[in-house]
Symmetry: C2
Subunit: 99 residues, 2 copies
Amino acid sequence: MILEIAQIDVKAGSEAEFEAGIKQAAEIFRAAKGCVSFAVRRSVEKPQRYRLLIEWETLEAHTKDFTGSQAWKDYRALVSPCFEAPPSVEHTELVLRAF
Amino acid sequence: MILEIAQIDVKAGSEAEFEAGIKQAAEIFRAAKGCVSFAVRRSVEKPQRYRLLIEWETLEAHTKDFTGSQAWKDYRALVSPCFEAPPSVEHTELVLRAF
């Protein structure tokens, strides 16, 4: 299982628009093959910064099957007008879940 | 509930030492008041990069009660020799957990 961590800085004043858009976009991810969970978090220290925490069954389910697909384009159309800069995306593997 | 995301880049070759140290350190977090969960993830794209995902009941449980305490010093003693640079720490609040 892969956890994608996408860091998104939005334009000042576009926070509510981004949150509404990403809520709609979540339904696109729900329908995506191999997408296991979808959460959105907001930084306390930098309130224009959000993180998407998205679990995928495999790396390829995200990078090969989803990215660039029509579903991905639909997702980007919903929220990319709010982006201050291109999102920074990284994939992570679990090392330890202690408790 | 606050999710702390700490990004830690370790020195090349110190990955195994870091993983052993953070496994020990997890027990320190388990005993910390207000610490709810503790997981460690490793970047696929940058294998020297780890992220600690740590849930706290409140922001202050981390920033006021834990940081700088003897327990914090014990944790840092276990893993800081592996650090390539000071960790980058951010706290996040949940906006949406869709599924």
